[in-house]
Amino acid sequence: MAGFIGVLLLAFTPFAVGMISILLPALGWQPLTNTWVDTQHVWLELWQQPELVNALLRTLVSGVVATLLALVCAYALVAKLSQTQFGHWLGAVAAPLLSIPHSAAAIGLAFLLAPSGWLFRLVSPWLTDWQRPPNLITIQDPYTLSLILALVLKEMPYLVFVMMAIARQDKIRQLLTTSQQLGYPPLITWGKLLPTLFYRELRLPIFIVLSFNLTVVDVAQILGPDTPPTFAVLLLHWFQDPAIDRIPIASAGALLLLALVAAVSIGWELCARSLLSYLKNLTLTGSRQQPLLEWGLRFAYLLSLLLLALAFLALLVLPIWGFAQRWRFPDLWPQSWSFDTFWRIQQPLLELTANTFMLGVTSVMLALLASLLLLEVSRILTRYTSLIMILFYLPLVLPQIGFLFGIHISLIVIELHHPFWTTAYLHWLYVLPYVLLTLKGPYLAFNQNYLDEAIRLRPHPLRNYLGIKLAMLKPALFTATAIGFAVSVAQYLPTLIGGEGRLSTLTTEAVAQAVAGDRKRVGLVAMTQALLPLLAFLLAALLPRIWTPLRLRLKYPHA
């Protein structure tokens, strides 16, 4: 029980401290001089920032549209494929796909979509007559289209992953069979009947996606507009402005962003309810044809396939840049290849990889430990299971930018100067919910009789717990490890703030260099960044299968 309370404290203290640390400046506290100004003054000044309105607008548009598109595309994909062989395969690769750090994908996307990018080279000059890149605004556009595209690419696999799990449930399958027997084409069932059932279980994942999209910093820095940027990026600029007096308005802005997320979530929920009740009415008509709905789903399905192809190309272009020597527009392929860039940066690359790896392993191991503790508690105290889950989901729904800056100040107050451990701690906060979520199902479904029986035979509860229960949960543990590791690898803002600038990972380096840096170098760093979690997933799939035979062979070499 003490351990349980300990994990609870560890997980929530930073949020509480971080929130207080932005609340005070937002009320008018000037940290440098430790003086107070009028609260009204702070908020008035925030209101007078020239970028404010447009930055908020761009945040709102990109966040909501990206969420909507990702949701519809993922749903269409699941609707078309969940009952097919390809669908099963897609469900299996969705997890590794979503493990690819979004910043790597965003960088690849920028390499594709820029006027000098791969897509334009593909059609130049033979089709377009462009000897030089056209003067077009295809990335960092003021309408946030390229940002939306990147966000959809990031969130769609996650939603597919969640929806595939829902689609596998018996009640969904039965419903599909029944309605087919009644003469409804599957797409009609998916369009009219199933959204309500799905939405019930999708609500939380959607809010996570929505909150992420409205507050994302790294992807918005790479593909988002810049005059003004989205609000979260603007806040980061303000927090890091050398003109010290920006801290109060930046804090007030962080609160404003929180309020925006809350308002959008409520608005979303209201719209969803009225839409679902409309669909319900549609269902009651009994019509077996609904061309608009059907075509809508088909179109979204095609769009999602197109997006997946784009994601594939985005990842493919990274190593090509990494091993190119000279590659000018409009050449489709590099004029010459070389390992020069690789040799030139192998030292820092190794260092970055080591940092990324160590952070991932440390935070995941600690998250596994905490998850097992929390799950064991919620197994015994069944009443609290959902409460625990909701509490630990919070870090995903709360925007990072506000409380992380608060944490930055509070970390210095307690003079904690361990960039590695601080960053690992912040990573742990974000890794924990994913590990917990992945383990929850298998762990709570575990047939406790095995363990009880084992304890009766051999009175060593801890050894049996490790040797029987955890050994039987091996596949889930490995999957959770891989997912947690991928989450850690992708962390940008927590690394930036926890590392105090002294700890660089593949992700911070890739984002820092994405726009301005040498593309060959960025290509290599982002490629390594994308490979690392894929490797973890490969191991997670392979290890549980060969683990026991390997262990037995080592233990009984002559058997």
Partner: protein
């Protein structure tokens, strides 16, 4: 008379000894520096500069047993806000930044915020031996902020323009010519986004040329009629943006990005604060070898960049040893080699010993690097207060 002289000398030496008691001697500093780890927060966006800093790290470790760690920043402001946050938190020693590459706005913020250790620069042996403070205004006035020994000079920079001779024959050598060129070739001209320092410098460069009386820019902005003085600048930008790269809706983030765009032929003219940038990028295969450098007919803005030590550094001695090493003829000459970095030396050539003079004489010049003579007139940076006012004006007009 003789007695008086002796008394005078005696008095002077006692004075000197008292000085020594207050200022620990350089050998004390060297002693204390041994074994210290210096976290040098320096912008890390260019590989050649990073490599040079790594070279410095190796050298000071060999010679002075000082561990130098390069903390790569995307923006120096991040380090400033970190030191500030530490001050806020009352962390008066053991700070996370020991040395910081700095000038201009960031220096002013740190100096005025009481975030700096010093004065220390004028006590560095190499400063005393090789630097002539009066040689350039920018050595003592950092964007109008008096330096007063709170930062030690490291290098000098001047705005240069780059173009590809394969696509552009006659580069536009004034702001008016640049605007005409942009109108004839829509989408091929741009500048970095203020408040990125090169972007802000472009605004100052344009203002210096377009305004009626550039000498007014040397005064604090508060004492001047900002709207009247800057009106020609905004009129110029209003005309430029519709025909600029991506129609002025986005701007490159840095000089590096501009050079990448120049290589991609998305744009025709790139800017840099690094006089040998073009030669370096050609050597690394990032620009075609037809790229050349030029400056404007009316001269371009130049300044000095420095290193400073935060008030709460835990390795102030080590940081001073590094700052002193950076001022050595060896480090300055190596830095000026175009394939290394090409950054101009801050040392007074006439104060160097003959062998060091030869070292500078033998530095090869890259194919696209201008000589000191070709760099022409160096325009002074406007008073530091102009930067913020211009950035604010730019934000209100174009960033929303």
């Amino acid at each position: 008379m003789k007695k008086l002289a002796i008394a005078l000398v005696a008095a002077m030496s006692t004075y000197a000894m008292a000085e020594n008691a207050n200022h620990p001697s350089w050998s004390d500093t060297l002693m204390k520096a041994k074994g210290q780890t210096v976290y040098w927060n320096a912008w890390g966006g260019a590989d050649n500069i990073n490599d040079y800093i790594q070279w410095v790290a190796d050298r000071v470790e060999d010679e002075y047993q000082v561990q130098l760690e390069h903390v790569k920043l995307t923006d120096t402001a991040h380090a400033v806000s970190r030191v500030l946050a530490e001050k806020v938190a009352g962390q008066n020693d053991n700070g996370s930044v020991d040395l910081i590459w700095i000038n201009g706005e960031n220096f002013r913020a740190m100096k005025e915020g009481g975030l700096l250790f010093g004065p220390f620069a004028e006590t560095l042996p190499n400063y005393q031996t090789y630097v002539t403070a009066s040689a350039r205004q920018s050595l003592t006035q950092d964007f109008g902020t008096p330096v007063e020994g709170m930062e030690s000079p490291w290098g000098m920079a001047q705005v240069v323009f780059m173009y590809d001779t394969a696509t552009l024959y006659e580069p536009p050598k004034s702001m008016h010519a640049l605007l005409d060129y942009a109108k004839q070739h829509p989408g091929r001209v741009t500048y970095p986004r203020p408040p990125q320092f090169l972007g802000s410098t472009f605004l100052k460069q344009a203002l210096s040329e377009l305004t009626d009386d550039p000498s007014k820019l040397q005064q604090p902005v508060a004492s001047q009629d900002f709207d009247q003085i800057t009106a020609p600048l905004w009129a110029f930008l209003d005309e430029l943006h519709p025909v600029a790269w991506r129609s002025g809706t986005t701007f490159p983030g840095s000089s590096e990005e501009m050079m990448r765009l120049l290589d991609d032929q998305e744009i025709d003219i790139a800017l840099s604060f690094d006089v040998s940038a073009a030669s370096v990028q050609i050597a690394q295969g990032n620009l075609p070898d037809t790229v050349r450098t030029y400056v404007l007919d009316g001269g371009t803005i130049g300044n000095t960049h420095f290193v400073a030590i935060p008030f709460n550094s835990s390795a102030k001695e080590g940081a001073q040893v590094v700052a002193n090493f950076l001022l050595s003829p060896e480090a300055q000459a190596y830095k000026q080699e175009p394939t290394v970095w090409g950054d101009l030396s801050v040392l007074d050539y006439h104060k160097l010993e003959p062998k060091d003079q030869a070292r500078f004489d033998n530095i090869p010049k890259g194919i696209a690097t201008l000589s000191l003579g070709e760099l022409g007139t160096t325009l002074p940076e406007p008073h530091v207060s102009w930067m913020e006012a211009l950035e604010q004006g730019w934000r209100e007009r174009y960033a929303n």
